[in-house]
Amino acid sequence: MNAAPAIHPCWHMRGLVQRFAEGSLAGVLLKYTKYHVHHCTRCRQAVEVLKAAIARLKKLKDKAAELPEDRWASIEAAWLEHEQTNPPD
């Protein structure tokens, strides 16, 4: 993972390319970035890569997970124990 990635946006565009891919740019920065990306293959490729990665990662959130009930029992027991050893003033 320490190797430099093969996808390199222009050095001065790194932050803008990232925000452009996230859709968080506005105003003159958005216009400038759009213009640059339109004319620069490296930055265009980086934007596409970032957009694809962001979209796919978001889908991991759909995965629901629950603690097993025996874990909950241990947690609730620990809460009660704490209440008993640290009664309110």
Partner: protein
């Protein structure tokens, strides 16, 4: 004219009982368990048992903090719990994991360089969650934490920066590197398995 004076008597605010507080906290904890487990699982590189230990410890110490007024009602409970979980991970689990493993947890295998000039972005849609989670596990820890908090859990940069105790700019640059590395890793995975040519 007769004036009727009504005295507005305000009942003093009753302090909720310990049982009420526990019930309220329990609801909050159950509501956010899925988020906490996902974060813990990514932090612990898919080790379910370790992730559950981490969430369990998080909820126990969060309850202690809750009783001491560490959480303000109406604020972002998810970010508050994520912060406690992250601190627990950084303070304890990472150390334990490092101790147990001879390999430095920060290091992962090198990402193969992208071979195609024009990668097919649709490949990411075709890859199942499992390989994506494995690719996440191969990221350096700090990058994995940023991706988990921002891209997967949807926290904003400022929240992630507060949780990770680093500047917003650092979160941004780690994310950028992580997303590109993940993309390259997954495209290579797809090529090896014939998902893309």
């Amino acid at each position: 004219m007769e004036m009727i004076l009504t005295l507005a008597w305000k009942e003093p605010k009753r302090e909720p009982s310990l049982a009420d507080k526990r019930e309220r906290f329990s609801q909050m904890a159950r509501e956010h368990q899925s988020t906490l487990l996902r974060i813990a699982n990514n932090f612990c590189k898919g080790n379910d048992s370790l992730a559950q230990d981490l969430v369990q410890d998080t909820l126990v110490s969060a309850y202690k903090s809750y009783l001491e007024g560490g959480f303000q009602e109406g604020t972002n409970a998810k970010a508050w719990l994520a912060k406690i979980l992250t601190n627990a991970f950084l303070n304890d689990y990472r150390r334990r994991k490092k101790w147990e493993s001879s390999q430095d947890i920060e290091e992962g295998p090198e990402i193969p360089a992208s071979k195609a000039a024009e990668a097919d972005h649709a490949i990411l849609e075709q890859i199942l969650d499992g390989p994506i989670e494995q690719a996440l596990e191969r990221l350096p820890e700090q990058q994995r934490m940023c991706v988990t908090l921002v891209d997967i859990e949807g926290l904003d940069y400022a929240e992630a920066a507060a949780i990770l105790d680093c500047p917003v700019g650092t979160v941004r640059s780690r994310l950028s590197r992580a997303r590109i590395a993940l993309y390259e890793d997954l495209v290579e995975y797809g090529r090896q398995r014939g998902v893309v040519q």
